[in-house]
Amino acid sequence: MNHWIIAPVILPALLAPVIGFVMRHDIRLARTASVAGTLALIAIAIGLTLLAASGPDPHVYRLGDWPAPFGIVLVLDRLSALMVLLTVGLAFFVLIHAIATGWDARGRHFHALFQFQLMGLTGAFLTGDVFNLFVFFEILLIASYGMMIHGGGRERMQAGLQYVVINLAGSTLFLFALGTLYATTGTLNMADLAERVSAIDLEEAGLVRVAAMLLMIVFAVKAALFPVQFWLPATYANAPAPVAALFAIMTKVGAYAILRVHTLIFGPDVPATGGIAEDWLFPAAIVTIAVGAMGVLGARRLLPLISFSVIGSMGTLMLAIAAFSPEATTAALYYMIHSTFAAAALFLVADLVLSRRENERLNAQPPITGNGFFAALFFAAAIGMVGMPPLSGFLGKLLVLDALRAPDEMAWAWTAILAGSLVTIVGFARAGSTLFWKSTALVTQPRPEEGAGRDAADAAPTPPDQPRVIEVAPAMGAIALLALLAIFAGPVTGYVAQTSAQLFDRASYVDTVLHSDANLPENTKDLSGESNGYDEADADGDAMGDDETAIPDTGDQNTGEPAIEGGE
């Protein structure tokens, strides 16, 4: 058992309270600690990725060394390692940007919340237990509430309130889904669930299907899938731009959860739920692309425009995931890496541009200092987002198109992606030319008095004339990553192909978690034969009645989850 697997959860969990309590009066100290912690996380994530890539089987971390269906497990496979690496890589760019632009000093506890957010994200990617997934969702959400309203302001508080309400409703739905799942299967361990759900007959599968759909709705809220995408534009457009850039990974959490749960537990070949996710995800993804594209065309401010382009890219991603085949998942994973950094790059560039303009309306205003430079940055990031050739978006969309060749889905999928891309290109081209091109036609006049628009409070007091290197470095770094992703598309695609192959090898996951020798310590070996019957044991107590060692597993659930919860 490799203890580094839990390090991405433990490190920010320990660092965040220290930053919050000890370093709250010294922003430089907090910045240093936060950057150091994120760098350490990157190192750990790279190590974990190498570990996950070293062998065919997933690596299991049993908390407290309790055997798997009873204790909580963390599971490190290629997918979770990839997502953790993606998260901390993105976090590093966002953190540097927030520090360089002074966003972190406009409210309190930015760095503590940031670390808690990372804890929730990495935990959600690593956990092998659906209730634990709920707990980590709540951790990342409660941190994101604080980040969302960081800096304050009327519209931001209002949008933050909506964001909290929609996510609390989603959490309630999550609990209902978990209750249904536990009532029908008697377990919440993902591997154990996979075994039991696949053993359920079609005639008795009604409640399991309800749970599967409830879970999908919950994850669709996070992934901003139609018809529950409506919260995203208001949230992302009103959040501080660096926070919106970090939120680019939050939608991917929903996509990851759908991919994990509806492949491993409710997979396409499971008789009880076969195909139920695919039937609903595919049309929802098509409409999501349309909503995103139309939103990009209709947006009148820059941040909503980018938010709608995020919705569109989530539609493309979910279209690839909805096929639930290894080839399409390979394309989806490549596109997921790309769209995370593309969205983040756009938000970071938009923040740099908007902090130099009077307000964020898309109209011609006197050109900002360094107009040409920022135009180039915006151009590059927009190219990445819409999927034009030199950057990785083009390859990502090409992979997705190539994977969706089944005759009954090809017409819809290709039309949606191609038409959506075209409309998005038009929207971005219009926005870019209005922002940067038409502005140069205006004669520079003395500015009207400050205070017009809602950004007066947000804007830096006196925007520096020339952009500093450290300010633009994160945005350029994110764009450079898109270029690298395109250049090294071969190796990356190779890695994600192995990832999706491992994801669809459900037997290997279940065997590693439940049936490996390490899961059977000497004193608990007797449990292995009985774990199948304990769900109906509550009434008559026949299955576990004669084994003392069954008692500690309940104690573990009692202490384990509140212990993680206590980290908040």
Partner: protein, 136 residues
């Protein structure tokens, strides 16, 4: 007892959904609280309903009836989380109320001039198409 618990969950959920769909923050908070109570009772019932049973096994190993302890642990976690979340929600809505002096949930439409806000430059807006924002 099943009828009682089931109808309690149903009534709590119905009332919660009704309140969440209100336009003001205060009923919405109450509605979310009711929804989380419904979820907690539902989770509790997911381990089967038994009364007067211990949540632990007999030490002697005799075949005795017991109630499933896992849902109780889940409910405990869910209660703590929803308690914390409700506190955050109250603070956020209080902050929004103080900023806007109205506890409406909806965002103001872009076209509506806000009382007290100086909408000075609307010049560029005429050229762009309407209807991009989803005001929920």
């Amino acid at each position: 007892m099943e009828i009682l618990v089931a109808s309690a969950i149903g009534v709590l959920t119905a009332a919660g959904v009704y309140l969440v769909l209100r336009l003001r923050a205060f009923p919405v908070i109450l509605g979310l609280a009711l929804l989380s109570y419904a979820a907690n009772v539902f989770l509790f019932a997911s381990g089967r309903l038994t009364s007067n049973m211990p949540p632990i096994l007999d030490k002697s190993g005799a075949e005795v009836a017991y109630t499933d302890p896992l849902p109780q642990a889940l409910v405990l976690t869910a209660i703590v989380i929803s308690f914390g979340m409700t506190a955050v929600l109250v603070i956020v809505s209080l902050g929004a109320f103080l900023e806007r002096e109205s506890d409406e949930i909806n965002l103001p439409r872009e076209d509506d001039p806000e009382p007290g806000e100086d909408t000075g430059d609307d010049t560029g807006d005429d050229t762009s198409k309407a209807g991009g924002e989803t005001s929920v």
